[in-house]
């Protein structure tokens, strides 16, 4: 049975990347615990708008865990306390009556705050532009079985491809490193024969772009894989290291 809970919400307000931010606090009363976290924030915003106040800004889009648009650092966890789930898949039944719920933006130098908890994650798009693709001569699609791919490789590549690029890995990392994202995006192509011709070029281009955008150096703390809503594994990072080192030694 659904029940209602009341709690204290502390949420981050910030007007722009260079402005000083602060927490606003609000008592949320009688929120049904089958409300999703984002719906709870919608309730907050309705209350704020009705009072003539400025609404709280946060990112969201599909609300079904596949677009990678929602973010929010909730009670010390990117995407909140649930594992293997995004913020939009988080429900209020995870919280108790009387809790203090702290909502912060992704904090990283590479993710400047646009407004409140909305941050600019365009850096990930730039990394993808640097090499996260395959160059393919278009034309008639060839027969699907012309290139045989072992089932394990196809499955592993698919697991890597489930990374939605939300940036939780960067938010969780004490070093602000984007290695879990970059390694998943390198792996999804490196594991398949279609991705091999450009594998060396891709690893080098994406790593150097990551470097240029000011992400930190991975120290293998595993915080990223613990918080990743898509359960990406740091074995991807080992694969990226391998691809990059091999590419550099072959130069």
């Amino acid at each position: 049975m659904a029940k209602n809970i009341s709690f204290t919400l502390k949420y981050w307000k910030q007007n722009g990347p260079r402005e000083k931010g602060h927490f606003d606090t609000r008592e949320m009363k009688n929120i049904p615990d089958d409300t999703s976290f984002l719906e709870m924030l919608d309730i907050l915003n309705e209350e704020l708008i009705n009072e003539g106040k400025e609404p709280f800004v946060f990112d969201h889009d599909c609300r079904e865990g596949i677009c990678g648009m929602c973010s929010l650092y909730i009670n010390g966890h990117p995407h909140g306390p649930a594992t293997g789930a995004t913020t939009c898949q988080l429900y209020m039944r995870r919280f108790n009556d009387g809790d203090v719920i702290t909502v912060e933006p992704w904090r990283s130098a590479a993710y400047p705050v646009i407004k409140d908890c909305m941050v600019d994650r365009g850096a990930f798009d730039k990394i993808i532009q640097a090499g996260g693709y395959t160059t393919i001569r278009t034309g008639q699609a060839q027969d699907a079985n012309a290139i045989l791919i072992p089932k394990e490789d196809a499955d592993e590549a698919m697991d890597c491809a489930t990374c939605i690029g939300c940036g939780a890995c960067v938010a969780a990392c004490k070093n602000g490193s984007a290695m879990l994202f970059v390694s998943s995006k390198v792996s999804q192509l490196a594991l398949l024969p279609q991705g091999r011709p450009e594998a060396a070029k891709r690893a080098k281009a994406m790593i150097m772009k990551m470097e240029e955008l000011g992400f930190g150096n991975c120290t293998n703390t595993r915080a990223c894989e613990a918080e990743c809503p898509k359960n990406e594994s740091i074995s991807n990072i080992a694969r990226l290291n391998r691809e990059f080192i091999k590419a550099k030694l072959a130069d």
Partner: protein, 228 residues
């Protein structure tokens, strides 16, 4: 040069120097254990590794490895702090699978460096350095056995050395598999293998050092009663 201007390259430097230092520790531990068995045999090793050209060259190489490891550690940490941004999280939770050591490698490293300085003052200064610089020291520079007895007769040094060994254990408990991971020799299966190998190896290594410290602290080393 990719070893300086790419993050993986810088980490490769950390990994390779780290592994080299683990090999050095292995070598060092093997020699220490000799002191348990025979003072004379230990002093033979001390003479062999005294102020000879090959020992001096190896010492310089070792110093270079250590300095590279430390310089890169500070460089990487500075870059990582900058990448994290100015604003810190108000609430942080360490996920269960995150090892404490993995997030505190620099702090552990600083404790290790302080231990190294103490160790150089206790032994190296009185042995190799004294021989090269012709300083007069309490015992013959090649009489390493006498320095072991002197140092571990003092309980303060014993405690400091144990703290030092524990810090190295924590540092390597993360450093060992992390080095393999950075060099790309890891995956879903090898992850647990490397972690286990690393923990067992590090524990044996540190136990080897610890046994010598404790044996001399309590005066129960076999070499104390039989040989001398």
């Amino acid at each position: 040069m990719w070893l300086c201007n790419s993050s993986i390259g810088r980490k490769v430097v950390m990994s390779v120097t780290g592994i080299a230092l683990i090999l050095f520790l292995t070598f060092h531990m093997s020699m220490n254990v000799v002191a348990l068995i025979s003072g004379d045999a230990y002093n033979m090793i001390c003479k062999f590794l005294g102020a000879n050209w090959y020992a001096l060259v190896a010492t310089l190489g070792l110093a270079a490895l250590t300095v590279a490891h430390i310089v890169y550690a500070f460089l990487l940490t500075m870059q990582n702090r900058r990448a994290r941004g100015n604003e810190r999280y108000a609430v942080t939770v360490k996920p269960a699978k995150v090892e404490w050591a993995s997030q505190n490698m620099l702090v552990l490293g600083i404790i290790v460096v302080l231990g190294i300085l103490l160790h150089l003052f206790n032994f190296w200064y009185n042995m190799m350095f004294a021989e090269v610089a012709h300083i007069s020291v309490p015992h013959d520079p090649a009489d390493g056995f006498a320095y072991i007895k002197d140092t571990f007769a003092c309980p303060v040094y014993v405690v400091l050395y144990i703290v030092w060994l524990v810090a190295i254990w924590f540092h390597l408990s993360h450093g060992f598999w992390s080095a393999m991971h950075t060099l790309g020799w890891n995956g879903k299966i090898w992850f647990n293998r490397w972690r286990t190998i690393g923990l067992v190896y590090t524990s044996l290594l540190m136990l080897g050092f610890l046994v010598v410290v404790l044996a001399f602290a309590f005066g129960v080393a076999p070499s104390l009663c039989c040989a001398a």
